[in-house]
């Protein structure tokens, strides 16, 4: 057993003491008047600023939110039971900050940066304030690079670019988190040397879990770990049992983490799961602070709550380093009501929505994306040329299919053209179905969509479409891998590659065994 000599200990202590400065300390104080429900009313603190961090006894911190004539309202970032009436509150003269940097990757932290995964302290000396002003117009540039989510339906028809805000909205249990997790897992390929060769920058991810069950968050972390995604991801956990103030600031902490990468010329992705719970936590805080309630009892500035969060996701101009922060906020609707207060607010802030419908989910279409009303306002700018070529007709075909869907019941009484459209549409819908945690690389997506839109599936029964897709892609990978390589490198579908794909598929078609 190793022994520590007493003089070693003294030497260490002396070293620690050497940096210690015995100066007169001047600080401002106040007294707790009232405490409860995560809120404390403090008398005094006459010089305190709004959103300043204040220190309560027993290592509890709080943030000043209400500055009133005779008292100050603070929210507590810790256990209310550790504070009692009459306690002294100290000003810290700084705003709430979060540790940032590469050291945060792979960790699970709480919204104020304290690790909760039991892997020890985080060694970083970089701190950024949680609340930061979003950048102005000049510092930004338009979204140009794609953020591949690995989900065919999204990357083809509702493409997301780096620096965009795309809302994922749907009822409970409709697959919102699944899309987000798939997007994170798909970024694994951006961290390989292969990606560097192709000129694809790595994407660092932040997953913010607000108000969710701790078991769900644990499952998400396990899933990310399993797929090797934790190496480039940080998880911020503000579970349902955390006090409302922590749930309220969690998304801002996530944005701060992402901004560190953005400001250093790198790309980052942040997922807020979900903002409806953050709005509810903020409503709880505001009501306890006696701020006047507005529509649906939300305070008057609930729009500002979300807008200042989402404005921080942007693509920076080359002068600023060219980094980007993409945001995927998630909103849960009640019974598909997208015209409720919070959903409409966030829809108007983001650059597009992905609608998930329970009816589609129950009908077996998973991901349950309603392509008709989902939109991405960045669109083609965020797609590689190859995908742009094939995706145009995909959207059109599906739109035509949807229009005629109601007539599908009258199978025999329809004319040939209608029947063809219905058949093609059904096969396309089947093609777009995807399993959980199975992101598809973009080159395979392009080929799959090409096959679907060019009528090669006509002779394949609907039930076999997925199997056909899998087998033909395997076939091409084995025999004609240069097709995929060419799409990867050129990012375009040249005429010769198109011919090669045609030839490959025609070669495979007769070999495919349909299930009886």
């Amino acid at each position: 057993m190793a022994e520590v000599r007493p003089d070693e200990v003294s030497a260490i202590l002396r070293k620690q003491l050497a940096g210690f400065d015995a100066e007169v300390d001047i600080y401002d104080v106040g007294t707790v008047l009232q405490v409860g429900d995560g809120i404390a009313r403090v008398y005094g603190l006459s010089q305190v600023m709004a959103s300043e961090l204040v220190e309560f006894p027993n290592d509890v911190f709080g943030m000043v939110l209400n500055l009133e004539e005779d008292s100050v309202g603070c929210v507590l970032f810790g256990d209310t039971s550790l504070i009692k009436e009459g306690d002294t509150v100290k000003r810290t003269k700084r705003v709430a900050s979060m540790p940032v940097g590469e050291a945060m990757l792979g960790r699970v932290v709480n919204p104020i940066g304290i690790p909760i995964d039991g892997k020890g302290a985080i060694n970083t000396d970089k701190f950024l304030p949680i609340e930061r002003k979003a950048l102005g117009v000049i510092a930004r540039q338009g979204v140009k690079q794609p953020l591949q989510t690995g989900i065919v339906a999204i990357d083809a028809m509702i493409p997301i670019g780096r620096g965009q805000r795309e809302l994922i909205i749907g009822d409970r249990q409709s697959g919102k988190t699944a899309i987000a997790i798939d997007a994170i897992i798909n970024q694994k390929s951006t961290h390989t040397p292969e990606a560097k060769r192709l000129g694809v920058k790595p994407v660092y991810c932040v997953y913010v879990a607000i108000g969710q069950k701790s078991s769900t968050i644990a499952q998400v972390v396990a899933k990310l770990q399993e797929h090797g995604a934790m190496d480039y991801t940080t998880v911020i956990s503000a579970s349902a049992s955390e006090p409302a103030p922590l749930q309220f600031i969690a998304p801002y902490s996530g944005a701060t983490l992402g901004e560190y990468f953005r400001d250093n010329g790198k790309d980052a992705l942040v997922i807020y799961d979900d903002l409806s719970k953050q709005a509810a936590a903020y409503r709880e805080l505001s009501l306890l602070l006696r701020r006047p309630p507005g529509r649906e009892a939300y305070p008057g500035d609930v729009f500002y709550l979300h807008s200042r969060l989402l404005e921080r996701a942007s693509k920076l101009s080359d002068a600023e380093g060219g980094g980007s922060l993409t945001a995927l906020p998630i909103i849960e609707t009640q019974q598909g009501d997208v015209s409720a207060y919070i959903p409409t607010n966030v829809i108007s802030i983001t650059d597009g929505q992905i609608y998930l419908e329970s009816s589609l989910f129950n009908a077996g279409v998973r991901p349950a994306i309603n392509v008709g009303i989902s939109v991405s306002r960045v669109g083609g700018n965020a797609q590689i040329k190859a995908m742009k070529r094939v995706a145009g007709s995909l959207k059109l075909d599906l739109a035509q299919y949807r229009e005629l869907e109601a007539f599908a019941k009258f199978g025999s009484d329809l004319d040939k053209a209608t029947k063809r459209t219905l058949a093609k549409g059904a096969r396309l819908v089947e093609l777009l179905k995807q399993g959980l945690y199975c992101p598809v690389p973009v080159e395979k997506q392009v080929v799959a969509v090409y096959i679907g839109t060019n009528d090669y599936l006509e002779t394949i029964p609907v039930a076999d479409v997925k199997r056909f897709e899998k087998e033909v892609l395997e076939f091409i990978e084995l025999k004609y891998n240069d097709i995929f390589e060419s799409i990867r490198v050129e990012k375009d579908l040249t005429k010769e590659v198109t011919e090669k794909i045609k030839a490959a598929v025609e070669e495979f078609l007769p070999k495919f065994k349909k299930s009886e």
Binding site: Q16, L17, G19, F20, A22, V24, D25, I26, Y27, D28, V29, G30, G44, L45, S46, Q47, F61, E69, D70, R94, S97, P99, I112, G113, I114, A121, I122, N123, T124, F127
Partner: protein
Amino acid sequence: MSDLNIANRYATALIELAEEKNSFESVSADVQLVFNTLKTSRDLRVVLDSPVIKRENKFSVLSEIFSGKISADSMNFLEFIVHKQRENLLYMIMQRFLSMNDIKQGIVNAEVKSSVEFVDEHKSKLQKKLEEFTGKKVRISFSLDKELIGGFTVRIDDTIIDASLKHQLELLKEQFLKGNTSLN
């Protein structure tokens, strides 16, 4: 309306009245007297707070205690307060009057706590230093607090100037516990 607002209004009214009638010093002295009485006598405060006791009785108590000791104007003011049913705020009104007066005259109150008694020479030195620091006249009240171990603390309104050994030891403890990560 909050109590503080109400007390402020009455105190302001009294100040303005006193200035008008040019009897500021005597009113000031009267207020100080009433304030001290209320401060030391809990019973009097309870009586004024109580909703059970009739107004007339409350006023008769006040007039008996203070008649002959305060001016007629001040007595009228007390009657006025009772008439307006704000006698429960009398203590706060007096308090606000005195603090407004202090602010007007540029005086701040400083509470000094020390572990050992201050020597006179140090007292005047401290006075000068504090007046330099605040830029105003300082009225110091000294008291002892053994818990500080050494040194002293000065409290001016909400600001504390802490030169005590206890605080330095606390900071030292924090420094050791901080280790590598900090919430800074």
